[in-house]
Amino acid sequence: MKIHEYQAKELLKGYGIPIQDGVTIENLDQAEAAVDRVHKEFGADQYVVKAQIHAGGRGKGGGVKFSTTRESALENIQNILGMTLVTHQTGAEGRLVKKVMVAEALDIKQEFYAAITLDRSKGLDVFMVSTEGGMEIEEVAKTSPEKIVREAIIPGFGLRNFQARNLVLALGLEGAAAKQARGIFKKLYQLYRELDCSIVEINPLIITDQGDVVALDAKFNFDDNALYLHSDIAKMRDLDEEDPAEVEAEKFNLNYIKLDGSVGCMVNGAGLAMATMDIINQVGGSPANFLDVGGGANVETVKNGFRIILSDENVKAVLINIFGGIVRCDRIANGIIEAVKELDLNVPVVVRLEGTNAEMAKEILANSDVAIISADSFADAANKVVEAAKG
């Protein structure tokens, strides 16, 4: 689960990590009060207005603006709040900005990068810092990987003092700033672990002209599996930032991801679902979605799956590929018939059922009065559905 910058900053503040502070608003009529509060509470005379969306590249897209006066800050709020912000991560359709953070502007002397995430191959968390702050970190990783310095966290031991020292040394910090940064890094790992984050990224972490180390931005992701342990974090979820069909699917325990193609897919198991998308692509079609109906597929899941797939207007045909293990194919077949009748489908449906009671299922489908295209094998199913999607 992702959260906004302003929410991540609240969490950082709670852990005693200095942040670029501000006030976040949703309505234009809160603008004046917000700017005045930032002036009063944080002593700011210059402001930064920052669009709050779950995507990177906000600055380049025009979603972050600096203001030297109150008036220009108000103008920037007016421009950014409600704009459709397009960045390299939003796709061409962009994202509607529903919240802005009015933040104090700080004098930046130096910018760094700091992040913690899981290194899957080693099975450890890794703390990374770089002197190349404020940049696209993927670019740094590609062009000058030596500029990213890592410390692996041994499970159960946390970020040790020597590791915090190593990280700070790598950034070339000395004196008071070094001490401050060491404290920040230790607290940051504590936050990462205690809140079950999957990524915390501070980019940039800055040194101000006054010599203070401050988090200027923050991007956090949380481990969905651990949200049951953190109800306060779970409440920070912003459904406006997610695809409505994906949110709807989740209510029914379906794992759905919308794509751009025309062939809707309903599959059990993530691996088989991906493989189904792949084969559709290989035979000349394009998948409209990823949909894993999970191990316990039944009449209800099939119905809900259909509804969600068909909420996408691009879908021209649907492929159901179920390999029944525990799930019985005859039940799925009945579910499909029921769903097709009830939902009054007007796109062709290709069905491939294999596994437990597959023969019985084929008979049920063949004897039904609904128009379903039955497929004999994985390849046959892919060919038939791509053909059907062409119309």
Partner: protein
């Protein structure tokens, strides 16, 4: 021969009194596996599966009483990490965790804990192991597999069934099918299993079914290049998956390597793995390879 489990494996089920646990324990027993008991803290002294097996309070008790050497775990996510560590501490040699949804941070600790013991751990969030005609330790339906000479390693459950089904169509069977799970942190890797299948005299060829993300397939392929004499057939699911859906910036730069399907397939092919492009061609490719 086979790897990991056979008809002599003494299997206990942690969480045997839960609905998932009892259903699948019964299925494993029905398949002919040697299920010798279960563990549910607080229910020691009772029986499970209609009186067929005893229930113990702890893995240590089960190990003492029935000499269990394999544990199959169905404990719910909040308690699963502890259950895995309990099994390892009790000296259970092989631990298979089916549970889905264990927090990653807990799995990081579990992995370190298990590595400090002599136990081998498979999973979590996996379908388990099936050695045809001998033992089923997990949730794979027994009918999908039949005895044969192909070692099957997979990150995905239903794609394992698909591959086994395709092998069956070609008249081929499996020595052992192992579902390792697709979570970020898992116990036994593809590389570990390649080694085991290479050493298993009954295995003639190995199928490795991977997915986008992580670098496990690459590590296995690089090992295979130097140390595996048997043919390895590989498939990577997710070539059309949208990039970056699960991991943000920091995740993508950790390994510095490309974790896309295309990059993995290219590297695997360079290491001498026979890479299958279409998921419908897995069985056929194995057959063709064996006929060479």
């Amino acid at each position: 021969m086979s790897i990991l489990v056979n008809k002599d494996s003494k299997i206990i089920v942690q969480g045997i009194t839960g609905s998932e646990g009892s259903f699948h324990a019964d299925q494993c027993l029905a398949y002919g596996g040697n299920v010798v008991g279960g563990v549910t803290p607080g229910k020691g002294g009772q029986t499970a599966l209609d009186g067929k097996v005893p229930v113990f309070n702890s893995c240590t008790e089960a190990r003492k009483a029935v000499q269990a050497n394999v544990s199959l775990i169905f404990v719910p996510p909040p308690f699963a990490a502890d259950a895995i560590m309990e099994a390892a501490a009790a000296g259970i040699e092989l631990i298979i965790c089916i549970t889905e949804g264990i927090p990653v941070a807990q799995m990081v600790e579990v992995k370190a804990f298990v590595e400090a013991t002599k136990s081998r751990f498979i999973g979590p969030n996996c379908p388990g192991i099936l050695t045809p005609d001998e033992a089923k330790v997990g949730i794979m339906p027994g009918f999908i597999a039949k005895k044969g000479t192909i070692g099957l390693i997979s990150k995905s459950g239903t794609l394992t069934y698909e591959a086994a089904h395709q092998l069956g169509t070609e008249g081929l069977g499996q020595s052992t099918c192992v579902g390792i799970g697709g979570d970020p942190i898992i116990g036994t890797t593809m590389l570990d299993l390649l080694k085991m299948f290479e050493e298993d005299p009954e295995t003639e060829a190995i199928i490795m079914i991977g997915e986008i993300g992580g670098s496990m397939e690459i590590e296995a392929a690089q090992y295979a290049k130097e140390h595996v004499s048997k043919p390895v057939i590989g498939f990577i699911a997710g070539q059309t998956a949208p990039p970056g859906r699960r991991m943000g910036h920091a995740g993508a730069i950790v390994s510095g390597a490309d974790e896309s399907a295309a990059a993995k397939k290219k590297l695997m092919a360079e290491c001498g793995i026979i890479v299958v492009e279409s998921p419908a061609d897995i069985g056929r490719t194995v057959k063709a390879t064996l006929n060479k």
